[in-house]
């Protein structure tokens, strides 16, 4: 957890936080402690302090329920999970199934999970049971058969757990705790325990990918950190702890990364400092030719390694930006002309080099990209700059970069800011789309009027009902969208699949294309029957922040109104349920011509809106419609 800064005075800070009179302020201060590098005792202390807090009214935190199903002791992991949740403003409540009873807990007709209703369900099994059934002399067929049996059992549990509890499933890989038996030949001997576990993990991960189950790869993590740091034989024998107490904070972190990614909390943009971060030396002082960068010296290669890693991130869809105290012309020139530079000007979506405060520059970068400030990671070698940004923008992730540039990449990679739960063609293009957006933004600044800008974009919307090929992306959008999301309802892939098969419901998807490119599948709307006949409920409506302010919400509503009318509806009903992040759609329904139907005396937070369809006049937009070919049967009559 080297990327987190050490606490300055943990006890004092904890005491000060608990002394806060206001409950929300108390929670806020406790959660800021979670952004420090806490050892496991501190983690336990923070967990216990948080547990004693009332969390009602903490609207800027998201509650979430997790069930742990394990074949070994996992109670001690809960503190690490709570603290890692807090780090992402998630209030995670954890249910731990009775020791070893993972099968019974899933399959029992009176399972406690039925009333608990977990959002996430983790299977964490140790390999001992399987190993006991495979003799080290087993033939490769016998070993494979034993592995298959375990995989089939898991597949059954996943399916049942999904159907019964509607939870998102996370499967942990098997920690390879086996001792060498044949030595290096273990890799070849089919029955060697090390080999059996390795094959089991291969098969489990394949099956998980097929069934869209998320994976928590503890096997890989223990390889990276060293098995002995995670697995302490004495603790295993003493209490069947697979994870040593020392590693509880790290365990919570890697698990909640996966959970957070499902909730759209993975970071989106890597903002890089320049001098002594992307290259050695201060370019304003030593000039391009004096920089330490590139092949020839170890240090020069270290900087290059960070550039290469940033480039790899960009290629998988992470947006890159630059934020540097520098002369803009000089800084640009290095990107353009330095022969050893791996990052090119076109890799950087927003380039900010000036002498202003970095915190305000970061705010600007987020605005230009139209993403939340909490989606940024800021990498800077200068401890003073890091401290200042953490102070004024606590929601920005700022890794505690080590002094030695050779360790930069490891630090950034270990921090796991960009955890993914799926990888679609859309993701790969995202960095480019954000870069296009930033240039659209420039276009907007130069356009005489907003209308001129929108018209000049030559926008098209391609829409239709959600089809099989769209399911992954739709589930991702529904679960990750926090801003344009009036109800913030979350649906698992399974539930979405069921919704699309339900004739009473309509799940619509919208892609936005324009002169500069395809923005991809950017909006989903789910209409469901309401309690009132002939009134369709806008159950879910999400839109990517990439396309805010492009009139797509108006055109989408035009389309929805037509489809609803074609299905015999007389009105559409909308609900706005405020959260810490969806303020952008507070007035959405009012702007779209809905009338609020709540009684004025109503004290509840949610507001309800009605749109009569007989008098609906379509909104005028600059978006041309294109029906998706594959879904032509949904064309309104």
């Amino acid at each position: 957890m080297q990327w987190l800064p050490l606490p300055t005075d943990f006890r004092g800070d904890l005491r000060a936080a608990l002394a806060q009179v206001d409950a929300v302020a108390r929670l806020e201060q406790l959660s800021s402690l979670s952004n420090r590098r806490l050892d496991f005792v501190q983690t336990i202390q923070l967990d216990q302090a948080v547990r004693r807090q009332a969390t009602e009214g903490a609207a800027t935190f998201q509650p979430l329920k997790l069930a742990l199903l394990a074949s070994h002791t996992v109670e001690h992991l809960v503190s690490g999970i709570t603290v890692a949740g807090l780090r992402r403003r998630l209030l995670i409540q954890t249910y731990v199934a009775p020791y070893g009873q993972y099968r019974q807990t899933v399959l029992a007709n009176d399972s406690p999970l039925l009333s608990y209703r977990p959002d996430f369900l983790l299977f964490s099994l140790s390999p001992q049971q399987l190993l006991a059934s495979v003799p080290s002399t087993a033939s490769s067929q016998d070993a494979a058969a034993a592995v298959s049996e375990t995989v089939d059992m898991l597949k059954l549990l996943w399916t049942e757990a999904r159907e019964r509890y509607g939870a998102t499933i996370v499967q942990q890989t098997f920690m390879n705790v086996a001792e060498p038996l044949f030595g290096s030949y273990d890799r070849i001997a089919a029955g060697a325990p090390v080999n059996v576990i390795a094959r089991l993990n291969d098969r489990v991960v394949e099956a998980a990918a097929e069934q869209a189950v998320s994976v928590l790869d503890i096997a890989r993590q223990t390889e990276r950190d060293g098995l002995d740091s995670w697995f302490d034989r004495a603790r295993w024998l003493q209490g069947k702890l697979e994870v040593s107490p020392v590693m509880v904070p790290a365990y919570g972190e890697i698990l909640v990364r996966v959970i957070g990614a499902h909730r759209g909390l993975a970071k989106k943009c890597l903002v890089l400092d320049l001098d002594n971060t992307l290259w050695g030396g201060v370019v304003g002082d030593v000039g391009q030719e004096g920089l330490v960068l590139g092949e020839g010296s170890g240090t020069g290669e270290a900087y290059l390694a960070l550039q290469r890693y940033a480039k790899q991130l960009r290629d998988r869809g992470v947006v890159l930006a630059v934020c540097s105290k520098n002369d803009p012309t000089i800084a640009h020139t290095v990107f353009r002309d330095h022969p050893e530079m791996l990052l090119k000007p076109s890799d950087i979506a927003v380039f900010v080099a000036n002498w202003e405060d970095k915190a305000s520059n970061l705010v600007q970068i987020a605005e230009r990209l139209n993403i939340g400030i909490d989606s940024l990671v800021f990498v800077d070698d200068n401890p003073a700059e890091r401290a200042r940004v953490r102070e004024s923008l606590p929601m920005v992730a700022v890794p505690e970069l080590p002094d030695d540039p050779s360790q930069y990449v490891r630090c950034l990679a270990d921090a796991g800011y960009f955890e993914a739960i799926a990888y679609t063609a859309e993701d790969a293009q995202r960095a480019q789309q954000y870069a296009m957006n930033a240039s659209r933004e420039t276009l907007r600044l130069s356009a005489d009027s907003l209308d001129g800008f929108l018209k000049g974009l030559e926008m098209n919307v391609a829409y239709g009902v959600v089809g099989r090929v769209d399911l992954q992306r739709v589930a991702q959008l529904v679960n990750k969208t926090n801003q344009f999301n009036p109800t913030t309802k979350r649906y698992s892939l399974q539930e979405i699949t069921e919704l699309t098969a339900d004739e009473k419901c309509v799940a619509l998807q919208f892609r936005l294309l324009d002169r500069l490119g395809d923005n991809g599948l950017v909006s989903v709307m789910i209409l469901k029957p309401s309690n009132t006949p002939a009134v369709l409920e806008v159950d879910t409506w999400v839109m990517s922040c990439r396309v805010f302010g492009r009139q797509l919400e108006m055109e989408a509503m035009n389309i929805a109104a037509e489809i609803a009318r074609a299905r015999g509806a007389t009105s559409l009903r909308g609900t706005y349920m405020p959260t810490a992040k969806n303020g952008v759609v507070k007035d959405l329904y009012a702007k779209l011509g809905f009338v609020q139907v709540d009684q004025l005396s109503s004290t509840q937070q949610a507001t309800h809106w009605l749109l009569p369809l007989d008098s609906y006049a379509p909104h005028q937009t600059f978006i041309t419609r294109r029906l998706s070919v594959a879904t032509a049967e949904t064309e309104p009559a």
Binding site: D39, F40, I44, H76, R235
Partner: protein, 81 residues
């Protein structure tokens, strides 16, 4: 380190684990004397003590400590080595 200093450290660590600020252990304290000091917290306690005092207990020792005094003595022995 005197026995007293070791005791203070052990008291503080257990107090942190059990959220009990004023917890005070004596050489005679047994696990059953301290509310909440179950086997689960005992493991955490042992690991935290090992980390903080840079000692390593054998599993057999961990399973046979009769009271806090035995832990203190074992720590002193390990430190003297």
């Amino acid at each position: 380190m005197t026995d007293h200093e070791v005791l203070d450290t052990l008291s503080r660590i257990l107090g942190e684990l059990l959220s009990a600020d004023s917890l005070e252990l004596t050489m005679e304290t047994r696990r059953s004397d301290v509310p909440g000091w179950d086997s689960f917290n005992y493991i955490n306690f042992i690991v935290a003590v090992e980390q903080e005092l840079r000692v390593k207990f054998g599993l057999a020792e961990i399973e046979s400590f009769e009271n806090v005094g035995a832990i203190v003595k074992q720590i002193q022995r390990a430190k003297a080595r």
